[in-house]
Amino acid sequence: MTPSDKVIQSVRRPSLKDRLIEQKSLIALLVMIVIVSLLNPHFFTLANILNILRQTAVNAIIAVGMTLVILTAGIDLSVGSILAFAGAVGAGLIAREIPLAVSVPAALAVGTAMGAASGIIIAKGRVQAFIATLVAMTLIRGLTLVYTDGRPISTGFTDTADAFAFIGTGYLLGIPFPVWLMVITFGAAWYLLNHTRLGRYIYALGGNEEATRLSGINVDRIKITVYAICGFLSALAGLIITSRLSSAQPTAGAGYELDAIAAVVLGGTSLMGGKGSIMGTLVGALIIGFLNNALNLLDVSSYYQMIAKAVVILLAVLVDTRSKT
């Protein structure tokens, strides 16, 4: 065997193993789909699948940002609050008939700035991510309540509002617009993580911050960037919800951070940072989405739904840790 043969042969081996590990949660998802399809004929229909994907989009988009943050060994608890605030800002601007080309970027910019602010506190202020974003979560929720005066903000009944409604309710080529946004978000994040310097640095930072710094990399800037991206995606999720409901709820997004973290963990990303994949997160988000829908179709009461969800997540994580050790 020549040396080059050896290299080629051995390169394939770990990637095959990786693929099998990735497929584990995917297999779980497929098994679930098959079982529920057998139990309920309405489950595996195009309309229901598109419905599930549309419902999943919001959590999945937030989970993408959460994945980036968790890969750097951080956490962002403020995603739900940013979602509500950006949604309220968006609704307020739309209600004043500010054109979409201004109001949408403005709402996204607000979310990005808020995420970046958390990132600056974490990176420059050396505050633990958990604490910094816990503070941000409370603070931004408070800001939302002050801004909305505790009442929903309606987008109104103008042409601008109708155009805005497309984001959450529209269809493009027969597929709900939020699903397109989800696909684009995942595609972009996949590209970022696998084909850019920043992506490589995100994994390195989560794996060993000091080694990354000594490699001449500005780790503060990477941290600030991932929290900014997470804030941006939370704001995007906020616009989808606001658009769908034609109004911004001051309490929107409460508890969403936990669903996003669950999706990331189900997707096999390590909370210790440095390890994980964006496609794993997609599968994780889909598992949660499909499970919610299946439990509804199977007439499980909403009280038991939470218990069932917790059990499924626990099982998935247990299986995952087993197979790793």
Binding site: P3, V7, S10, V11, R13, P14, S15, H195, T196, R197, L198, R200, Y201, Y203, A204, G207, N208, E210, A211, T212, R213, L214, S215, G216, I217, N218, G274, K275
Partner: protein, 501 residues
């Protein structure tokens, strides 16, 4: 000669795809120290895991105190009297010494109340036996690493251990602490304990051990009395070939001055002045805590500089971060690969190119995978890095190969000055020689090399010029041919001396 208390015979152990142990023997005799040596990956750790019951053996016999036995787990071997002191200590810094010794088996009354006075008295007795001058109520974290290791030994003794295994015990110890450890080992020998001593440091084996067992590639190579061996023979047994010369030296005519450091002050550094030339290896000797690493980190921009000047080819540098240093052409290979050298969870490729990723991506940040793979494969071949592939997780590689990747990572940044901090720590003899040869190649290419090392023979053997540090200052400078271990040591302990160059 007394009968062995513990005997392993024909031990075999396979993992999927690898035969980790193949017919390995080991005998431990009361009152004697058995060295266990071999290159990284020779099977030493696996053998210890089989012995202590962490792994089950596929074949072979384990005879302990005259009985054939199998330990179902580490707890059983510990209770049976086989104590192991791991390289990384398993102690809790926030607890007291006594609490650490009796962790998980505190002495209690019938109602579960902890009998503190009894526990402390017992612990104090153990500490006195080992000559440790601390009260057992002292918080463990207040102790130095050497003393903490003594606490581990006290813990092993509290189990009435008859066999004590020490895995690279002196790796983190200062010379004084090593002396103290050796004194304790002599004590343990005198009181009839059998000791297994695992180490890369051949000098120590000749100093403290009675017999030596050599493993290579999972196979038993031989057991010999230390008195019948010399270093060269032992190395030959370990690597399976003769290493003609431990420190290969090449002569290069040094040319212009590249790096010039003037009166540098930083944390732990109080006014260091020195320079390096192109095509020169500058050895930096000194004891632990002499400020060598601190000085290098300041030059690399990793720690802030308080005062002083760094010039590279005459140009004054203002280094605020490692990035500035790398851009200027300075590379630093850290002494601690695991803590701040490598990202252990990432693969060989991603580690190797981490510091030089801009060279493998477009200005906009898109990675150019083909050129990256090409460069990594070149280095793997050129450095003879033993890895199944460039996608192998680096944590799975042996110490020597990890170190080669570290060096390759530094070289990827195309440095003009390469700082190597303890480049052969935890590296086996075969890989050591390869690393020395690589360093010589860089020297021939005109690079300036700063070689920081605690091993005096390494500094003496490799350097063209040597500076010695003590308490943050340069206390001596020698041309290689004028230097010897005594002179370096004299400066390292604070005697200022500069020979005419």
């Amino acid at each position: 000669m007394p009968q062995p208390i513990l005997q392993l015979e024909g031990i075999e152990k396979s993992f999927p795809g690898v035969k980790a142990l193949d017919g390995v023997n080991l005998a431990v005799t009361p009152g004697r120290v058995m060295a266990l040596v071999g290159e990284n990956g020779a099977g030493k750790s696996t053998l210890m895991k089989v012995l202590t019951g962490i792994y089950t053996r596929d074949a072979g016999r384990l005879v302990y105190q005259g009985e054939e036995i199998t330990f179902p787990g580490p707890r059983h071997s510990q209770e049976a009297g086989i104590g192991i002191i791991h390289q990384e200590l398993n102690l809790l810094p926030e607890l007291t010494i006594a609490e650490n010794i009796f962790l998980g088996r505190e002495k209690t009354s019938r109602f579960g109340r902890i009998l503190w006075s009894e526990m402390y008295a017992e612990a104090d007795r153990l500490l006195a036996k080992l000559g440790i001058g601390h009260n057992s109520k002292t918080r463990l974290g207040n102790l130095g690493i050497g003393e903490q290791q003594m606490v581990e030994i006290a813990k092993a003794l509290s189990f009435e251990s008859k066999v004590i295994i020490m895995d690279e015990p002196t790796d983190a110890l200062t010379d004084t602490e090593t002396e103290a450890l050796f004194a304790v080992i002599e004590e343990l020998k005198a009181s009839g304990h059998g000791i297994v001593y695992i180490s890369h440091r051949l000098k120590e084996i000749f100093e403290i051990c009675d017999e030596v067992t050599v493993l290579r590639d999972g196979k038993f190579i031989g057991e010999r009395p230390v008195s019948e061996l010399d270093e060269d023979t032992l190395i030959e047994m370990m690597v399976g070939r003769r290493l003609d010369e431990q420190y290969p030296r090449v002569d290069v005519e040094p040319t212009t001055t590249s790096l010039k450091v003037e009166n540098l002050h930083a944390r732990g550094v109080h006014g260091a002045t020195f320079s390096v030339h192109q095509g020169e290896i500058l050895g930096v000797a000194g004891l632990m805590g002499s400020g060598r690493t601190e000085l290098m980190r300041a030059i690399f921009g990793a720690d802030p500089m308080e005062k002083g000047e760094i010039r590279l080819f005459g140009a004054l540098l203002d280094l605020k971060s490692p990035k500035d240093a790398i851009d200027a052409g300075i590379a630093y290979i850290s002494e601690d690969r695991k803590a701040d050298g490598l990202v252990l969870g990432l693969c060989v490729k991603k580690n190797m190119t981490l510091a030089a990723l801009s060279a493998f991506s477009t200005p906009s940040g898109r990675l150019q995978h083909t050129t990256e793979r090409q460069a990594v494969d070149d280095f793997i071949g050129h450095f003879n890095i033993k890895t199944p592939s460039r996608s192998q997780t680096i944590g799975n590689l042996s110490g020597g190969n990890q170190q080669k990747v570290s060096i390759a990572k530094g070289l990827m940044t195309r440095p003009r000055v390469l700082i190597l901090d303890e480049p052969t720590r935890g590296v086996d003899v075969g890989a050591k020689k390869e690393i020395y040869q690589l360093i010589n190649t860089f020297k021939q290419e005109g690079m300036s090399i700063i070689l920081v090392s605690s091993e005096m023979p390494e500094v003496l053997g490799m350097s063209d010029r040597i500076i010695v540090m003590h308490e943050g200052r340069v206390t001596g400078e020698f041309a290689a041919e004028d230097a010897n271990q005594e002179k370096l040591m004299a400066c390292a302990v604070g005697k200022t001396e500069t020979e005419a160059l």
